[in-house]
């Protein structure tokens, strides 16, 4: 198991907590908690080791695009980058991010 941390500047407020997904084969769980700070902080725990660069690209793109002020916990069980991106956007949608909902 590997733990990865990412942090990027953020400016968009979100309305509420959200939780999507399960830590099941090829899937992941995302927990989003709104934050007052101008940052988006992401912690990723993944069972697959050695994919740090892929994670960085996926998370960076997501964080820069939506810039949601939030703390995000990702618990991954071997999801592909496509699934990861979809789950992250889905979680923001449930959180009430203005650009998505």
């Amino acid at each position: 198991m590997e733990s990865l941390f990412f942090q990027y500047p953020a400016k968009n407020k979100i309305e509420r907590q959200s939780h999507v997904g399960v830590v099941g084969s090829g899937d992941l769980e995302v927990l989003v908690t709104p934050s007052e700070e101008p940052w988006v902080k992401v912690e990723v725990r993944t069972g697959m080791t050695g994919f740090e660069q892929t994670w960085e690209k996926v998370i960076e793109r997501f964080c820069n695009y939506y810039a949601a002020q939030a703390t995000i916990q990702v618990n991954d069980f071997g999801a592909t980058p496509g699934v990861v991106s979809l789950r992250l956007v889905q979680a923001l949608e449930v959180s009430g991010h203005h650009e998505i909902s």
């Binding site: 198991m1 907590q17 399960v22 830590v23 899937d27 927990l31 908690t33 725990r45 069972g47």
Partner: protein, 558 residues
Amino acid sequence: MKSLKVSFAELNARERTKALLDEDTFRELLDPFEGFESPHLVRQGIVPQSDDGVVIAKGNINGDPAVIISIEGSFQGGGIGEVSGAKIAGALELALRDNQNGIPTRTIIVYDTGGVRLQEANYGLLAIAEIGSAISALREYTPVIGVIPGKIGCFGGMSLTAGLCSTLIMTKEGRLTLNGPEVIEQEAGIQEFDSQNRRLIWNTIGGEQRFSLGFVDYLAEDDIDSIKNIIIESTRRTEKSHSRSEQVQLYRNRLQKIDPSFPLNSLDLQRKWEEASIEEGERWIEENSDESCIESRGRTWFTALTTKTKSNLTPSVLCADEEIEDERVRYISVVPNLNSRYHRAREGEVGLEEGWTIAHYVREAIEQDDGGDRRAIVAIVDVPSQAYGYTEELLGLHQAGAAAVDAYAAARRAGHPVVTLVVGNAISGAFLTHGLQANRILALDDEKVNIHVMSKQSAARITRRTVQELEEATKKTPAMAYDVLSFSTLGALHELIGGVNASNPESEDIKLIERKIVESIDSARSGPSDLRIRLQSLQAKDNRSASIKVRERLETLW
């Protein structure tokens, strides 16, 4: 217009609770943001899930207050660890408290579980014993509804708890069994069960097969509305019906009609099953085998502690009533019987006949002592495992185990002090069936006393690790260890008794154990009739702290 079916099985655990509860009444307790994930998985390099794979939701079902316990099969195969187990047990205990206080709370369990989570081994085992105890008690107040929609199904120790439910609902896709096909194949060989043969699996433990032999009450379509309607109908039922686990004589008679040495045909089986009545009928007479060739501490200690004639309803289950000091004691011990009709249950394993016979002896004591002094019941435990076999699963080993669990739990509630004396092996389903429902558990401190949930080979196969990796993990998680000293750190033992010759007890050893048994009986008589004492010990406060915290938080949120 006929509406399309909407699959229930395809939903995840949380969606399932929302689908069953009335609109806008869903309220989750210990939700993903509460921070109750497993404290044991990260250390083993496994990513945990924020709800540990169990969703507890309160709300209404057709206007009635209800709690739904839903297990997530996609996370670690729905395995029961310390936190997930405590969430289930804690919710059931609170539902019981509600119903005892006149607050009707409907209780529904959605099963999707492989049984004990092997990475948390004995934590899961203890939790499942507590879940069984709570269902057995709760059923006296309100029907407990179990749903097995499928995907994973309901396996291992959790199948014993399903066998305790008032009503079981299953779809064709569901499977219900004590031992999973892979474990049977690992333990007994491919000639016993081919775990790759899907048709064989569904014809043995699938929903249709279970329904045809009456192990479940409803075979439901995989459709949300159909399942919800059956649940409403079942929760509304007011007349108290006997659950399967209480129908001991009927099931014993059914087994008597079957000769397991011939291949069993499904239709034939169904006919014989239906013919059996609840009156005592004909029975197979088994010769007692030559016992000397197979060592059994269960027999050694039974012989040491008893003097009177043993009942021999089933040669592998010894039972005798004795008196120590002023206490009347019924001893029950499971022993090898090389002549058993069931070839997978000849070496002291707990099989079909053993489970139902234990239930018989325990319930007999409850009935005989009705209205008078309640004798103590002492389970002498040396059980290498449950019986791993095809016939066992086809004929409902999980139900036989549930019957014994239910009988011990009922005895405890009726006021019989139930004491377990572990003298040898106490393994997984066998220990859940025979021993883990006791008020007090005594164990001999001896290197041949082992308590765990699965043989190393099988556990390695199921968790896809090598035996070496497994042993490595054991060092980090004492609950995964096999020795009794590690087990004792979990705080469920009343006493670990040292200095006793466990294989060949001398008269001082026997006197000492008798004194310990009497002391345990006294202690049980003055304590609560449920299992809460296991969480009150000093060791439990340290080593089962998550089990305690989950319950405390659950109570606050309830």
